[in-house]
């Protein structure tokens, strides 16, 4: 773990650095940015570029890194928050997992008691397979966190205050729906065995990013068949109608060749076009992985004018922009 983090900071020393006094915190090299709401994220490792790959200009300011699939400590979270705090409060923006929530809540208490730093928390909960729409806030957070980072990051960058940034993050989250499929399990190194077994000719629909079970297990399906199973579900979930505008994210969970993601993207586009849903922007690649899991997820993000603007605002992290971006 620590070797991995050192490898990252060594790769991008002009853009990232360790939190002073805590080797599990990574923050923007130029943090704290004075006068800007700071955004902190964090979670278990094994999902790069989630979470730490989103530290950068126009995105988040710092990240706490836990062991594989486990929460970082509240103390790391508090330390990150202290060192990115630019005087206007800190937004905790992270995926909806129980262990992370407990630690972030505790960190918020520590910061309030000991440092007088204001925090708000928004948990991303976009996995439609984990709970119905009317209880969407109890969903797990998966790849759709990308859209929350991007829009909340842009909101903070343009000078919004803490409440506004949190509102954007919440709005983005409530308008994002994701569904994933897996062809193989992931192995948690600590346990050494796959979280569960999938046959060579089987796949699981709705699988979580730690190998949590999905909705159903089926025979292997083609990209077209998967899209036909997933896209209508997302459309329904977001109540999308003809003329609505969305951003599309086709995300690979680690062991899926990019070639296959683009085939999936074609099928997703075809289905959306059939429903006359307008595609404002498309992202295809590895935005949230699960160790060596083979699979992919499709996220739709229902846009409005403000969210479009925030989505298009400049941003930069060494994980998503090889050649820089701002």
């Amino acid at each position: 773990m620590d070797e991995m983090l050192q490898g990252i900071v060594k790769a991008f020393p002009d853009r990232l650095r360790f939190t002073e006094g805590d080797p599990r915190g990574i923050i923007r090299a130029d943090a704290p940015v004075q006068g800007k709401v700071a955004i902190a994220t964090g979670g278990g490792s094994g999902h790069l570029p989630v979470f730490l790959g989103y530290v950068g200009k126009g995105l988040v300011d710092g990240c706490s890194v836990g062991n594989v699939f486990s929460s970082p400590s509240a103390d790391t979270m508090a330390q990150v928050a202290r060192q990115i705090h630019g005087g206007r409060g800190v937004l905790f923006l992270y995926g909806n997992y129980f262990g992370d929530k407990m630690n972030f809540d505790l960190a918020a208490e520590i910061l309030e008691d000991e440092d007088g730093i204001r925090t708000l928390s928004v948990r991303v909960a976009d996995d439609v397979a984990s709970a119905p729409r009317d209880r969407w806030e109890s969903r797990r957070g998966v790849a759709g966190i990308f859209f929350a980072y991007k829009t909340a990051g842009a909101s903070a960058e343009r000078g919004d205050d803490l409440e506004q940034v949190a509102e954007i993050a919440r709005r983005a989250t409530s308008r994002t729906a994701t569904m994933g499929v897996a062809l193989s399990s992931c192995t948690i190194p600590a346990s050494g065995k796959p979280t569960f077994e999938i046959g060579d000719d089987e796949m699981e629909i709705g699988m979580g990013i730690h190998g949590e079970p999905g909705i159903t297990r089926t025979k292997l399906m083609s990209a077209g068949e998967i899209a036909e199973r997933v896209v209508p579900e997302l459309i329904r979930d977001l109540s999308l109608a003809a003329g609505d505008e969305v951003a599309v994210l086709v995300n690979g969970s680690g062991a899926t060749p990019p070639e296959e993601l683009f085939i999936m993207n074609r099928e997703v586009h075809a289905l959306l076009e059939k429903e006359k849903i307008r595609i404002y922007r498309t992202f295809v690649g590895e935005y949230a992985t699960s160790l060596e899991m083979a699979g992919c997820s499709v996220s739709l993000f229902k846009l409005d004018d403000e969210l479009k603007m925030l989505l298009d605002a400049p941003a930069d992290t060494p994980f998503l922009n090889t050649f820089g971006g701002v």
Partner: protein
Amino acid sequence: MDWRQIAESLPEFAEKNRAVWNELDAAQGDGDLGVTLQLAANALADAAAVAGTVRDWLLEGGRAVRKAAPSTMGILLASALIAAGKALPPETGELSSRDWLLVQKTMAEEIMRRGGAQRGDKTVLDAFHPAIEAYEEGLEQNLAAEELMAKAAEAANRSAEATADMASKTGRSSWLGERASGRIDGGAWFCYQLYEWLALKLSGKA
């Protein structure tokens, strides 16, 4: 009862049982409960070595657990220990059976507050609550310290076993649906084992 002595032997207690805890957690979680509890035990032993009073130990030990073992059980334990430390009057020396009751009750309350779980959600609470009730009953009957712990352990044992029939409603295992049914909750089982170990300790047998 000498809290320092208990604290010092916690790592040994964890070593003996960590494999079972991991195993139970693996069946319906991520298999790290033993690791978590070992880290917590080590942190508590280290904290005891430098703590002046039991109150300090609980406060500083809780903070150390928070850092060393940030998984669900770790953080719940950590918060609960800190809360218990705060609840004890500063002048507390060795723990009386009444003090012990206060510690247990405060811890259970803090676990409920922070974790948001109820009895029946298939957590450590499903062993902890019945244990505390048994302890309190015994206290009214004026049982001796080791008898109190033994009585609590017995109650915890029965109720931990009963978690096998429960459906998990919180934490990681709640996502597992079918895959987790029929299994004892690891946290509940740990709770029983801890009481049993404390009973042996108090009776001088461990």
